[in-house]
Amino acid sequence: MAEYFAMGGYANFVWPAYGITALVTLGLIVWSVRGHRAVKTRIAALEARANGAEGS
């Protein structure tokens, strides 16, 4: 197991390469999903206001 993580002496290059890739791609996913949720909430609030205005 330790031998596997040592990556033939290149652990300091291989693991950071995978680490930064995981970090950036997960970051893109979280950021994109959050942006989508935020605009959904915004539209729901606007539509509720519009319907409320019509109802009154």
Binding site: Y10, T25, S32, K40, R42, L46
Partner: protein, 252 residues
């Protein structure tokens, strides 16, 4: 009238279609990336010359591929937007830009990490590396241009012209390894005479490349949907502001 119907009908169709496709595409992405990571980190052998460092190729090459292919898709969307004046095309180009920039960043960083043990340097001012760094700055310029122009129509046209001008960098990246005597190796997968790497290494590379591409497509769909909804929210806000003014005028 016909034109205005076309303008709204197509985003509506896009929203329905992309909404139906997204869960399946997301599942396919997760599955492909899981298989790809297993092949890249566990099942594949070390390279006979490069040893374990070859594993960096499985994240470096797909990132670099998306850096260029992402820009090419963006340029295509910009051209469609400019020619047919289609808001959906502009929205998708805007959605792709941060994704392309992120993958270009990853190509540069993973390339530096791979370069150190193989070339003895994190960075060299080699034609391939330099042209990809230029690509990164072009992405940032495109994103910045969207931020500084407030009106959607004007921003869409200006950013698209900028994007198409930046596309001249793509053939420079592609052929930089042939035109100049670079430290970066020439193409070994996309060659006219077929790939020049062994299948034990080519298979994990292709699976990872497919996984990265699926991720790019899924995030582009999500972000394009967000962009369309942002515009809808802005127009609702405008309507309510105007209605509020009319009500205000009547009451006053």
């Amino acid at each position: 009238m016909a034109k205005s119907i076309q303008r709204f009908a197509n985003p509506a169709r896009f929203m329905a279609l992309s909404g139906a496709v997204l869960p399946w595409a997301a599942a396919a992405t997760a599955l492909t990336l899981s298989i790809g990571l297993y092949l890249a980190l566990i099942a594949s052998p070390p390279d006979y010359q490069q040893g374990e460092t070859v594993r960096m190729m499985y994240v470096h090459v797909p990132s670099a591929w998306l850096a260029s292919a992402g820009y090419a898709s963006m340029a295509l969307a910009c051209a469609v937007g400019l020619i047919w004046r289609h808001p959906l095309a502009f929205a998708s180009a805007k959605a792709m830009a941060p994704l392309g920039a992120a993958f270009t960043f990853l190509a540069l960083v993973t390339g530096a990490l791979w370069g150190k043990p193989m070339w003895g340097a994190y960075w060299v001012w080699d034609a391939r590396l330099t042209s990809v760094l230029v690509l990164f700055f072009i992405y940032l310029g495109y994103i910045a241009l969207w931020e500084v122009i407030e009106d959607f129509g004007r921003a869409a046209r200006a950013t698209s012209v900028f994007c198409l001008a930046g596309a001249v960098n793509l053939p420079v990246i592609r052929f930089s390894v042939d035109w100049w005597n670079t430290l970066h190796q020439p193409a070994s997968v996309a060659r006219l005479d077929g790939p020049a790497i062994h299948s034990s290494i080519l298979t994990p590379l292709l699976v990872m490349a497919l996984g990265f591409t699926l991720l790019f497509v899924v995030l582009t769909l999500v972000r394009t949907r967000t962009e369309i909804m942002e515009r809808r929210a802005a127009s609702l806000e405008m309507q309510q502001a105007q209605a509020g003014m009319i009500v205000g005028a009547h009451n006053g």
